[in-house]
Symmetry: C2
Subunit: 275 residues, 2 copies
């Protein structure tokens, strides 16, 4: 029950209709008696810097969750960034430190790695393809590299996006084999669609599904549709897969820790979520 | 259940611990299936203008409730003010008009008048004493004048506060008899404590209770304590009285209308409120 003492976590993005965080965190907070609430805040691009600054002047702010399209823009507003955020150049969680500095970090990739492990994928030495090198694709690639991936194939339609990401990963993780010249899924153990393709039913496929090895694990970041046309096609080939909401739930414990709330298991969070 | 489509009413003030609005509006919204939520936002004075501007850039903002200490400061940030706000020089509700202008109005006084009527007080021709001519005292005086009060005695410890308010009321309601030289409750039908005195148990009395006529109706604006020492003393004299929360509840239907939500009766709101 929201009252005058309730702490706020501002969930900032645009549009807001696909936001899932309020329906995950709020039932959890209620279940354990934590007086805090995730509040959706829809924000247009030109207003984002002023809004972020303003919410962190609130006396009852507990943190901010940053989603599309502000994960990259938020980086310029931080005083310091955690390792995953620094590599990916994006952040999705911000807190105010005791000394007044804004610290941001990125948990998409951590959630993806945890979800893949949950599906039995061994990350150490894995050969992974990441299609889409925007905020979430960069996060996943950075976390895969940090978790010991053997090779990373990075691909993006936008010229330079994949090579720029590869350069940053190579600087930190020189042992990872990197390539950026192809979105061909052949020869990979782990295949990721990190593009927005799949949000709409008539989107084209993000890659040639007929080239995905049948033994590969296929992951998806789209939250709007639980099973996209792309995942349906991968499953029809016999591939194991996991959906965007798996990645979403797997990252929540990391956020809770970042914001200073009591820890929760993914199973508890799934059981309480209301969507 | 808060979700990505939920509209926000920002309740802005400082400190936030005495906020009651979330526990009144939110159960009501839930009961009628309106997807909106009142969110407490604690704000320090130097941040108020930037915060107010920022919240009205949110794509899901439905309005703002303004409480202490910003009711007067908010006036400078409006594009237009309703009649009660203009007279009192304070506002406690702000909405964004379709053309982008910020419109503010003031409902404290309207709530007070409704609460007094509910207690059987005839406002037309009433002789009223208002002690405390800050935001809420000004609001009550303005609404009493607008509702047909016969005379208004205005008193404030701060030099000039009462006479300044009297000047503004006289300009709009020339028929009301006004005096500003005394806080003596003798000779009044309706007596109001509109000072913060009573929030703390060791506060001095806002007026000489032994001079309140036994047949007078005594009203209080303090929300922190349901029955203040002042009201206890007035009741001990045999006076009828009403408390700050009466005024609070009576004004909610006016707010709901202002923000464009379905109407509610005070009885419904009281039955649903959770505090």
């Amino acid at each position: 029950m929201i009252n005058g003492n309730t702490g706020i976590i501002a969930h900032i993005g645009y549009p807001t209709r696909t936001f899932k965080s309020p329906m995950i965190y709020n039932p959890y907070f209620e279940s354990i008696g934590v007086d805090a609430v995730v509040v959706p805040m829809g924000c247009k691009p030109e207003q984002f810097p002023a809004l972020l600054k303003a919410v962190f002047t609130l006396t009852n702010i507990r943190g901010a969750i940053i989603t599309m399209p502000y994960k990259i823009a938020a980086m310029a507003l931080l005083d310091e960034a955690g390792p995953a955020a620094s590599i990916a150049g994006a952040c999705n969680a911000i807190r105010l430190e005791a000394d007044g500095r804004l610290r941001g970090d990125l948990f998409d990739g951590e959630g993806f790695v945890r979800a893949a492990r949950h599906k039995g994928c061994r990350i150490d030495g894995v050969r992974a393809l990441v299609v889409g090198c925007g905020g979430v694709g960069s996060a996943i690639a950075a976390s895969l590299a940090g978790a010991g991936a053997g090779s990373l194939s990075l691909f993006d339609q936008r010229a330079g996006a994949a090579s720029e990401l590869a350069r940053r990963i190579a600087a930190r993780y020189p042992a990872v084999r990197l390539s950026t010249d192809s979105g061909d899924p052949a020869g990979h153990d782990l295949v990721v669609n990190a593009t927005p393709l799949g949000m709409n039913p008539d989107d084209p496929m993000p890659m040639d599904v007929s080239r995905i090895p049948r033994e590969a694990l296929v992951g998806e970041v789209v939250l709007e549709r639980e099973v996209t046309k792309f995942l349906q096609a991968a499953r029809a080939r016999g591939c194991r897969s996991f959906v965007g909401t798996d990645m979403l739930f797997e990252q929540i414990p990391a956020y809770l820790e970042f914001f200073g709330f009591p820890p929760a298991t993914v199973e508890t969070l799934r059981g309480l979520a209301r969507f």
